[in-house]
Symmetry: C2
Subunit: 222 residues, 2 copies
């Protein structure tokens, strides 16, 4: 396997992030590329979920992935091993990506021949939620070991996301985690949220999530 490309992205020069994000969405619509922004805490299972997602969809659509991290290239290597184009974005210590930083990534990834581009944001429940990246939709992962109080403590990210993947349901027996309670609290924050309980490691529950994503991409690029 070739070594993955590592891109050092720079802080944005744009004063108006929302306008820049809107410009990116318009460009992606024109190109016929759907951009998904995936967010979570460190270690919630973003890369495992993505590896399984792209492996399931790669024969139906053309996919590229941008892995954002402060350091290392291990995530991009895992996605490349799953068989799709992948680059690693280094944020230079920054705790999130904004629209300008995302566009640097899109330019390096190359989107003209892609149906679906996915941004794996920096592992952080706080800062990434504050910045529109230009993605068509936002998804987040909450993993069972993190606890069911997260919608109370990190309200913004539940508000800005369209999908909540509740990951690591295989370890539900070993943790005090009430799936009904977390679903109810998350829906109170955001009644439009789609909630999919999954286990990215075993593949349990992935199908409804894949169906949602398939429909999203199809509607966007038609």
């Amino acid at each position: 396997m070739d070594p993955v490309r590592i891109i050092e992205i720079k802080q944005s020069v744009f004063a108006d992030n929302d306008r820049e994000a809107g410009r990116i969405r318009a460009r992606l619509k024109k190109e016929g590329t759907y951009l998904l922004n995936l967010m979570s805490s460190p270690g919630a299972g973003k890369t495992t979920t993505l590896a399984r997602t792209v492996a399931a969809l790669k024969n139906e659509m053309r996919i590229g992935v941008m892995e954002a991290d402060i350091d290392s290239a291990v995530d991009a290597e895992r996605i490349a091993a799953a068989g799709v184009r992948s680059i690693q974005l280094h944020t230079g210590g920054m705790c999130h990506l904004d629209a300008g930083m995302t566009e640097q990534g899109l330019d390096e990834l190359g989107t003209a021949d892609l149906d679906l581009a996915i941004l794996e944001n920096v592992g952080n429940l706080v800062c990434p939620a504050e910045f529109d990246t230009g993605a068509v939709k936002n998804a987040m992962i909450l993993s069972v070991p993190e606890g069911d109080d997260k919608p109370l403590k990190y309200p913004l990210i539940f508000t800005v996301c369209d999908v909540l993947l509740v990951n690591k349901i295989d370890v539900l027996p070993y943790f005090d985690f009430d799936l009904a309670k977390v679903t109810e609290a998350a829906l109170r924050r955001n009644p439009k949220l789609q909630v999919f309980p999954i286990c990215a490691k075993t593949g349990e529950g992935m199908e409804p999530w894949l169906a949602w994503l398939r429909t999203q991409v199809r509607e966007w690029i038609k």
Copy 2:
């Protein structure tokens, strides 16, 4: 139980955070109060670890806790239930505490009669590591379900901490987590790091951590 006090802290006005942090440490040294800053990802077990820590030490020393969160007061309520003075700091969406924000908390908590004050920082592996809060020492928690690659991906926090608590070791059998590997990677980032594997839920492994903290406080306030 009385409702816990919730303090809305404001962004700092200080341009030089390091100088402000040094000033706080000098004040605490003079008052005979040790300040510990505890950091981790969301859901790594900061509050459970603190509840067990203060329950074990509260008859030996006078302890107060500041729980920082973007929203809710559930953590401060749990600490108050463990039997020590506790206040909830709301950061107004901010992803970390700096020295000026910490001092607002210390003033509200009241430190003159405390031997040990503990700041539970916002759940985030990135931003809190960038700001000296004025604490005497920094501790972090990495929980087993987060994975053993975190020292590679979030290098700064491992560098600025004095203690690494590896929490949730009760679920080691259910996760691909190599304790020796994470310890080695963390020590490569920071050879002075003290590593304590614990299970805050069951109490396993807490004694070496409590002994470290006891010695720290004793040396500081003597």
